[in-house]
Symmetry: C2
Subunit: 198 residues, 2 copies
DNA sequence: GTCTATACGCAGATAGAC
DNA sequence: GTCTATCTGCGTATAGAC
């Protein structure tokens, strides 16, 4: 039961922090969502920062699970990368409302000069390393990390603008562009390895 | 003198909001920076939201001035667009610390469900329209707005990741990619209008 | 483990002297 | 116009009963 309440707190905090930001989310907000008293909180977490820690760890675990699923579901690296690109559409509604959970948390913690900023960056690193691995398998070698960062950045920009303008068409169009970019990269690589045509 | 103090308040608030966020920045912080008492505040602004209004208007005016300068300094539209791309480098240090002032404010206000969110989006629109105009002059016609949004999004993504990873090399590399993308777009357009070579 | 009661500080905001 | 003093509410955090 103890662990269960703890889980419910972290889950509620995760959602509230995503929707409204870390600083703005208060114990009272979380308590009201979970349905417990504020006092009860401190039996599970010493400080607010502890809750943030719990939330980030939860996100890390969930992200790893998602990447594992993509790893299994995708028949080849290119398809797996397309899985990544398409979360922009899958989570489109939330993104248009609240932005990307990773990017917005990272930005807020940077401004707060919060010690957990590096933990939030670890969330990005999870995606980055996974993407890098996919590009390596496609044969991009040393360029793989650059390509991973490129597509990670593209998706961040799309999320920010889709949120600012609440623009679904833009989001879809940019997803198409990112997929086209991926195809171009792969075609360019094939040309390089087998240059019978200029 | 009255107007002068008001200006100093808005200027200080602008910087503090950029560095630490809107919600976190308190009257006490701003007052301490400007060197006035908290009480004096309310002679110039009725509420905290009024200060935010002042800050956004200040940013709008400053941005317009910057775009005008680029308009004059750039000899052709492509060079002007490159001026836009290069703010990522010019403001690189600040961006790595605090992110993009426009994107991070917009994201925060979205999460706060703040009425001024649309005003912050107007800052994006300023860049968007200006970029769109440059692409139109280059002859991109109906595609101009899409291209403007694309490059605006790219720069947002670069800012977010450069901030998250505090990575200057990534920032520079992506600026090069954006410039190369621009050249490709222009070359593609020329090819389309004059297809003597496939 | 969960609750109520409470401490303490700082937030935004107001009143009124100078 | 600028100040000090003060109000009120909410934030995190603690103490201790059940």
């Amino acid at each position: 039961m103890a662990a269960e309440t703890r889980e419910r707190i972290v889950e509620a905090a995760d959602l509230l922090i995503y929707q409204h930001g870390f600083e703005v989310t208060s114990f009272a907000d979380i308590a009201a969502t979970v349905g417990i008293s504020r006092g009860n909180f401190y039996h599970h977490f010493k400080t607010k920062d502890d809750i943030l820690d719990g939330v980030i760890n939860r996100r890390l675990a969930n992200t790893e699970q998602m990447l594992d699923r993509w790893e299994i579901a995708g028949s080849d690296p290119a398809e797996r990368i397309r899985s990544f690109i398409h979360i922009l559409i899958v989570n489109g509604e939330k993104i248009r409302r609240y932005g990307c959970p990773v990017g917005t948390l990272s930005s807020e913690l940077a401004k707060l000069n919060h010690t957990a900023k590096s933990d939030a960056a670890a969330l990005f690193t999870l995606f980055r390393s996974w993407l890098c691995r996919q590009f390596e398998r496609l044969g991009f070698g040393d360029k793989s990390d650059e390509l991973a960062m490129h597509i990670l950045g593209r998706s961040q920009g799309v999320a920010t603008l889709a949120n600012a303008f609440d623009d679904d068409r833009f989001l879809h169009h940019e997803v198409e562009l990112m997929c086209a970019w991926l195809d171009d990269q792969i075609a360019g690589l094939a040309n390089k390895n087998n240059p019978d045509r200029e």
